[in-house]
Symmetry: C2
Subunit: 429 residues, 2 copies
């Protein structure tokens, strides 16, 4: 990319500020990558302590943000995401301590071998460098994302939603206090101190200083970032997740998994949005499933066959098969066997998380192999799509892309690697 | 990205052709990903046989390309890269057989564990999907790149330089013959059958059908692809590789490694472009090194200190420190110790391949840790930067990016992974 062309696109004063932050991040990132894992963990524990010590200041900053949000007329769901309580502040501190307790993702020997000429080659994990994280007005993401970047030896540039400016600034100060106490550069975690949305554009153009962008939030935010970014992006676009009830499904497992996958929490990306059921068992198993979902307050939008089986099912349109509701709604389709189910999931799903319920091992293996999603499950709820449920610790999101990181993105996924080659004077013939 | 916005940018008739190819590739890719490794290897061996059987047709097609190139006034180096000979055709066939003999990169269990709730989680390698490869007029790349994609269960869309159209088409026919004989879809390897350069732009916009773009060639090609692509790119920009002779270097090793790193082949990305030498030993070791390089026909551009030591050294300008010559020229700087050398490499290098010559183990380890390059070596030539020298088999290039693939990109690096989760009815609390 031509540096000149990029510079001419930039909004000068704002750009100078973002560039200064990114330059400080790059210098700090270099030091972070060479620091001991023990020092990085000490910084995380110090940051947790600083958050507990500074809880009152954080809550006061959040009160300012909440007043601004109320004035701006933010809706109730968004205000709830912005709100911090003493419990939520304590959760942030605990989250940082949990990340500190994870194994060090940096300096792992991923592979090592010796060549016939005596060269010893090792593939060793290293930090990515500078990570830009762009998210909505959720103060806890400041702590979670900053902590994961710190754990993995990266420098973070955090850009939260404009309504969370005061809260995020207060939390970043705690992360920086932890870094300082551990003898690490405070600039390893920085936030962008302005509500000006053009700062996001400036970040997305700084390909010479920022190594990767991680957007976390709603579809429009992520689409904007993917469209504008000159920097590689790790993103998940959406989770249009499926439960497929195969003809050999255990009826009780089918009921429990469907209800849990849809209704445990409807606003998470691993929530099921679509139910596929085999024609052979639809009439027999659907009524009980509809009982469960209706009792939990879920609207069911089905095809004609489904509607003819149970009149509580309302008509689905074609758009329903492609919709991530993030709400108490599910689309329902009666399918003609396993291949039709696989085809539907691959066509309409978002390659996020899909499950098959069956007692037929061969059918399950075929589903697991042929469904092209980051996470495929057999006889388990889609709501397990979560880094901590996978035992990977905290996550920054679930990637639906196939490059670099797929599925839960935790500290390990925020690393790259290098090849270290040790010789004794070898030259190449 | 908005599909509408993209469509309006597209050149309609050409776009329709490229889109049809990409759609066929996606369907074929799905089948390839599910095919047995044995079938994919049979297709590679069949393709090798088809290349040997069809050698005369390939050479005749190449003769047409050579005539076109001569008419167009292509320079001698480019004509040499375009030229096929019976030996070069045989090399392509052997290359495919070597790739067939590599272990299957698909379906590897990269990690597997069980959760306390009984869920069994496995991380399993899967193909990336559809890979677009954009390269210059080098017919052997058609065979190498197509073969690596086939091995890794992907579908390939190959776009070679316009001068190689006939040669590439003939080679793709052989690859397709191998696929057909093995019962696999011929559309898994396709080329773009036009000289129109707008076809590249059309490919770069098809983010809905092509999963990844791999450009292979000169700097201007790769920069264009990185600038225009809406699809993730694996690329190496250049190889500004360093040899650093530390004060504790064995003088003989320093001579041999410097000469080999610079002059074994000057046109490869792993060729050294810059020599750093410690001030403490410069006067003592430089003359012999300059003897070797001068005898081999290498021009040496040095800083003032270097010039004062040996008058055969001509002056370097600031631009020399950042230049990849790909020629018999080397820049030379006298540095004040290890930290200055590391700083210089990280500032001026291209994060490709750098080596330290020293008998001081601690100095070596510091260099290996702190130089931020895909490949770092101790007491070995930078010319080992090559997938086959690493024992990874054929490669499509060396990535200087940190995402997904860093260093040599072989069949294994052309895969992604999925999480396969096997349960017994688990729901999430």
């Amino acid at each position: 990319m031509s540096t000149l062309a990029v510079a001419s696109e930039e909004d000068r004063p704002l750009d100078a500020m973002v560039r200064a932050i990114a330059q400080a991040a790059r210098t700090a990132g270099h030091r972070m990558g060479l620091a001991d894992g023990a020092a990085r963990d000490a910084a995380l524990r110090g940051a947790a302590a600083a958050i507990r010590r500074g809880a009152n200041e954080i809550l006061a900053a959040n009160a300012k943000d909440m007043a601004f949000a109320a004035e701006k007329g933010l809706n109730a769901a968004m205000q709830d995401r912005l709100l911090l309580t003493p419990d939520r502040v304590e959760s942030m501190a605990q989250g940082l301590e949990q990340v500190a307790a994870l194994p060090d993702p940096v300096g792992r020997i991923l592979a090592a071998w010796e060549r016939p000429n005596g060269l010893k080659i090792a593939r060793v994990s290293v930090p990515l460098g500078v990570i830009g994280i762009i998210y909505e007005s959720r103060p806890n993401v400041t702590s979670d994302a900053g902590g994961l970047c710190l754990k993995s030896g990266n420098a973070a540039i955090l850009r939260g939603g404009s309504e969370s400016l005061h809260s995020s600034t207060a939390i970043v100060e705690c992360l920086q206090a932890g870094l300082r106490e551990a003898g690490l550069p405070a600039e390893a975690v920085q936030s962008i101190p302005t509500r000006d949305r053009a700062a996001v554009g400036a970040m997305l153009r700084m390909a010479d200083l920022i190594d990767i962008i991680v957007p976390r939030g709603g579809k429009s935010l992520i689409e904007r970032v993917m469209r504008e970014s000159r920097i590689p992006v790790i993103a998940h676009l959406e989770g249009n997740c499926h439960v497929y009830i195969h003809e050999k499904a255990d009826p009780d497992a089918a009921r429990r998994i469907t209800l849990n996958a849809k209704m445990r929490r409807t606003g998470v990306c691993g929530a099921a949005e679509s139910l596929l059921i085999d024609r052979k068992i639809a009439a027999q198993q659907l009524p009980a499933i509809v009982d469960d979902l209706s009792a939990a307050g879920c609207e069911i939008r089905g095809d004609q066959t489904a509607q003819s089986i149970d009149r509580r099912i309302v008509p689905a349109t074609d758009a329903d098969w492609d919709t991530e509701y993030l709400d108490a709604i599910i689309s329902l389709k009666v399918v003609d066997g396993l291949p039709a189910a696989i085809e539907h999931v691959n066509r309409h799903g978002s390659h996020h998380t899909d499950t098959i319920v069956t007692d037929d091992g061969a059918a399950a293996e075929r589903f697991l192999a042929e469904v092209d999603s980051a996470i495929v499950l057999h006889n388990a709820s889609t709501q397990f799509a979560d880094g901590s449920e996978f035992g990977m610790g905290a996550e920054i999101g679930i990637s639906t892309g196939k490059l670099h990181a797929r599925g839960p993105v935790g500290a390990e996924q925020l690393t790259s690697f290098k090849y270290v080659v040790r010789g004794t004077g070898q030259t190449r013939p």
